[in-house]
Amino acid sequence: MEILNTIFSEATNKALVNVVYILASVLFIFGLKMLGSPETARKGNLVSAMGMLIAVVVTLLDQSIIDYKWIFVGLVLGSLVGVIAAMKVKMTAMPEMVAIFNGFGGIASLLVGSAEYLLSAQHNIGILIPIFLTVVIGGLTFTGSLIAYGKLSGTITGNPVIYKGQQWINGILMVALLFLGIEMIALQGLLITMDWQILIAAVALSFLLGVLIVMPIGGADMPVVIALLNSYSGLAACAAGFVILNNVLIVAGALVGASGLILTNIMCKAMNRSLANVLFSGFGSVISVGGSSTEQQGEVRPINVADAYLILEAASSVVIVPGYGMAVAQAQHSVRELGELLEENGSEVQYAIHPVAGRMPGHMNVLLAEANVSYDQLMEPDDINPTIETTDVCLVIGANDVVNPAAREDPQSPIYGMPIINVDKAKTTFVLKRSMAPGFAGIENPLFFKPNTRMLFGDAKDSITSLVSEFKT
């Protein structure tokens, strides 16, 4: 009995738990690594899920846990909601799904930080700093993600919401938060007497900050925001790890924080803009005036489906460039069908996908994968651009700014310098578009006036379906 007692003493138990946490961290790392290649990605996700499972199980075995009843209630209800949401969500609704899950991670970290704050009687600075960070980052992740959810699902306007003095209000809010942080960490209740009052003030301010940060951001900038919020939810978990001095929270949170930041950076680079510019400029709310592009408009050459069919039928290489418009029109399945018919007809078909096309990083890839397009046909601009001159037909479906040659040619254009897909250099380019309205950024697109461009007006799905039936007859 003596021996058993030593083996299962509290100290050994703690050590064992920590060893399992290290194992879980290793599984997260391998999982993320495997997510980097389409062949191994699914397994990688499973590996990472295994890591999570063992981390949760070993935590539940912690001897100091007294009440299991409510933990299980939370686990069961949470799993139920998670399973239903994950199974029912449509692929087109994926951006808002990711946003809302992000928000849940944020609020969970906030609650953990709050619970620990109300408990920590000793008020040690080493604990108070991470508590404050957990609450603030968790809080703004939560409301920021909810606003992003609203914008992506169309419940609130996707347009940037800009008002006068916005920077000032955000600035004042930041200063207020900073003061609250000092009050919470260093002064410890000098101005506000009760702990819970400080806590509520911190939660309220961070909630407000989350709303104010995301409201001014327009639809097409959403990929950046989603990636950034993803990073924040990791950082919140990481900060929570410092609150309870737990290594697995720190490792996992930091991995997610880093990955989110890298994605954010990739998205910003793909738009040739700085993060500050995306967050604070309300891009797209100001319609650019002047600039040479607006004056040098030429003639728009429309084309009908029958003529477009004849050209496509003779094409030996076709590049399809999808944009958010394809998602809106739900045209991905018809597009895949057209792609297959073109291949049967002897054309080489590739899809050129710009990193910021759509409303979240990789949005178009998911939609086309859902429609059963083989992933080795999904190319990045750098793969397509070098050979675009020899491409017979480019089919631009609901994309606008990512194919705007002004980014290359017009130094006065707001998107000048943004890497684009050079469809204007292809032999022929069809642009599928509802009308001549400018894209999200409100910028004229000289592509529409190029001599080798033909406009196929109408709903993208209808146009594609008509092309498909032309091929079938």
Binding site: G31, G44, L46, G82, A240, L249, I250, A252, G260
Partner: protein, 95 residues
């Protein structure tokens, strides 16, 4: 600062570098699954949520309740995140 904290900061810094190394080579076709998979990992805060019901904590009913709500939200994040990522990745096929 005590030794544990310094050690954890060390872990933090290394993890950030590791994260940067791991992710920077992900092809853009996998950006969405990567994001939602990483998002599921950020649900690791579930461990912290469970630990709010440690013996010494149970006397404070409010913080216990907060912790249990955190368990719920973190579980949605974890379970939903992994499942939806799995569903998405199942669609990525090569012909």
């Amino acid at each position: 600062m005590d030794a544990v904290l310094v050690l954890l900061l060390f872990v933090l810094v290394l993890s950030i570098f590791l994260g940067v190394e791991l992710i920077s080579k992900v092809p853009s076709i996998l950006h969405t699954p990567l994001m939602s998979g990483a998002n599921a990992i950020s649900g690791i805060t579930i461990v912290g949520a469970i630990l709010t019901s440690r013996g010494e904590n149970i006397e404070s009913e409010l913080s216990f309740a907060l912790g249990m709500v955190a368990v719920f939200f973190a579980t949605v994040n974890v379970v939903g995140g992994y499942l939806v990522t799995n569903r998405m990745l199942g669609m990525f096929k090569k012909k």
